[in-house]
């Protein structure tokens, strides 16, 4: 029993350090994807609410596609597809050698695209929750459209959207486990390798579960704190306790 646990340690033949590095990769790809996915999601949400029919149609099509296709499939398509496209471009420019797509970038783009499709729904809901009068009042005060969005709409938007975006983050965190299939050395990749080397799958996948669980619990705790903070001006409506 003790010898088996030593496999998770940092000593000779222990996988502790590798697992920590894997956990680092998991967290970094999730954190790298987050701003990209959320920003793209907001743009898509604005597209869905635009007056332009073509834009609306494009934005709706985009979310329908990326919400309906399995993340694993999206990951493969982007990893192999973009690789092939860029390879052709590489040859067309006339550069020597081969272009290879870094798995980190492929994973980030794939997860980011999926995240943007899901978060755009949250953004749309939040944008709808902000009354028209807010923009009108901002316009009456002489703020430009951009200023009104940045100074008046955005601060309120974050509060309304936070619970939904928090959910998106939790989903993203778990989805990062898929990037192991495109050889990015995250937790799942390391534990799969450790399993192949030691033939102790229960121990290693169990350890991976606990690492993910730890990240999820910390995220839930952090998001709870963040929500309480964004709601602190709304205590009278029971917002602080939510």
């Amino acid at each position: 029993m003790i010898e088996k646990l030593a496999l998770l340690g940092f000593g000779d033949g222990g996988w502790g350090l590798a697992l920590l590095q894997g956990a680092g990769i998991t967290i970094s790809i999730a954190l790298a994807t987050l701003p990209f996915g959320l920003a793209l999601g907001l743009i898509v949400a604005l597209g869905k609410r635009s007056d332009n029919v073509v834009l609306r149609w494009l934005a709706t099509g985009y979310t329908t596609v990326f919400r309906g296709v399995p993340e694993l499939l999206t990951l493969y398509i982007i990893y192999f597809g973009v690789q092939i496209l860029l390879q052709r471009l590489w040859e067309w420019i006339g550069l020597p050698g081969n272009f290879s797509m870094p798995p980190f970038v492929a994973g980030m783009v794939a997860l980011g695209v999926v995240l943007s499709a899901f978060s755009s729904e949250v953004w749309v809901g939040a944008l709808n929750a902000i009354q028209k009068g807010q923009r009108e009042a901002a316009a009456a005060l002489g703020l430009s459209k951009g200023q009104a969005f940045r100074l008046v709409v955005m601060p309120q938007l974050v509060r309304v959207a936070l619970p939904g975006l928090g959910n998106n983050w939790m989903v993203l965190l778990k989805e990062t486990s898929l990037v192991s299939v495109i050889t990015l050395p995250d937790i799942m990749f390391i534990t799969t390798r450790a399993n192949a080397a030691t033939k102790e799958p229960f121990l290693f996948f169990g350890a991976a579960m606990l690492i993910y669980l730890f990240f999820s619990l910390v995220s839930a705790w952090g998001l709870g704190g963040l929500e309480a903070r964004t709601n602190r001006g709304y205590a009278a409506f029971g917002g602080a306790t939510r």
Binding site: T64, V65, R67, G68, V69, P70, E71, L72, L73, T74, Y76, I77, F80, G81, I84, M170, K174, E175, T176, S177, L178, S180, V181, I187, M188, T191, T192, N195, K199, E200, P201, F202, F205, G206, A208, M209, Y212, L213, S216, L217, A220
Partner: protein, 238 residues
């Protein structure tokens, strides 16, 4: 030409035509996996949600732990833990006569998906039951209905309507997530597509698979919308 080769022929894709039959039988595997696990998971979830709300404190704590654990870890990791991890104890499973179950990737995927979706569905149902006003329960008790009868006849029907939309979302999430079954050597739609790509190196096959998933999800979404409309037709303002 059998029917499953026809779509590939019709769009003029040689790979899709060659692997069409494998992909459609893969689609059936996906369908079986999702249909069985979501149904079993629903039954489990009803029990879990009720026990979580009205059961003894120790049961509540255990169910809380269960849902936190399965909702806080990736499905892929759970699947590997069941298929590779539990498969490690082969001697034990042979002794208790369950090795036939843990040997098969299909049963392992089924077990994993069921316990996973049960955790999500239990949380959905718990939320739905909790959002039924307390007065409904008190009213039913005041009319002389037994606790169980009030739950079954008064609370549950209302809670189910609230839970309908998130349950539909969960079904769609499960269809998409079921693609990870291909990583434990199971030839579901994703698995068949991976095989087709590995043999042909033709990337377009992934696009056709994406299209099939998309159509499947879109059909379910529409059917579910209809279902919801039909089930809530007695309610005002709809």
């Amino acid at each position: 030409m059998s029917w499953c080769e026809y779509p590939g022929y019709a769009v003029g894709s040689e790979v899709f035509q060659n692997y069409g039959c494998r992909m459609f039988s893969g689609l059936w595997v996906t369908f079986e996996l999702v249909a069985i696990s979501v149904t079993l998971g629903f039954g489990l979830a009803v029990g879990l949600a009720v026990a979580r709300l009205y059961g003894p404190r120790w049961a509540q704590a255990m169910i809380n732990g269960y849902t936190t654990f399965f909702r806080g870890t990736p499905l892929l990791c759970q699947l590997f833990l069941v298929y590779y991890g539990l498969g490690q104890f082969r001697l034990f499973w042979t002794d208790v006569g369950l090795w036939w179950f843990f040997r098969e990737p299909f049963y392992c995927a089924l077990l994993t998906f069921t316990v996973n979706t049960a955790a999500y569905q239990a949380e959905i149902l718990r939320g739905a039951i909790q959002s039924i006003p307390r007065g409904q329960f008190e009213g039913a008790l005041a009319l002389g209905l037994h606790r169980w009868a009030s739950l079954r006849r008064v609370i549950m029907p209302q809670a189910m309507i609230l839970a309908l939309r998130p349950l539909g979302n969960e079904l769609i999430v499960m269809i998409k997530s079921s693609a990870v079954a291909s990583l434990v050597t199971l030839f579901d739609l994703m698995g068949a597509t991976r095989l087709a790509f590995a043999r042909s190196f033709d990337l377009t096959i992934y696009l056709y698979a994406a299209l099939i998933y998309l159509v499947l999800v879109e059909i379910i979404r529409r059917v579910w919308d209809r279902l919801e409309l039909r089930l809530t037709r007695h309610m005002a303002l709809r």
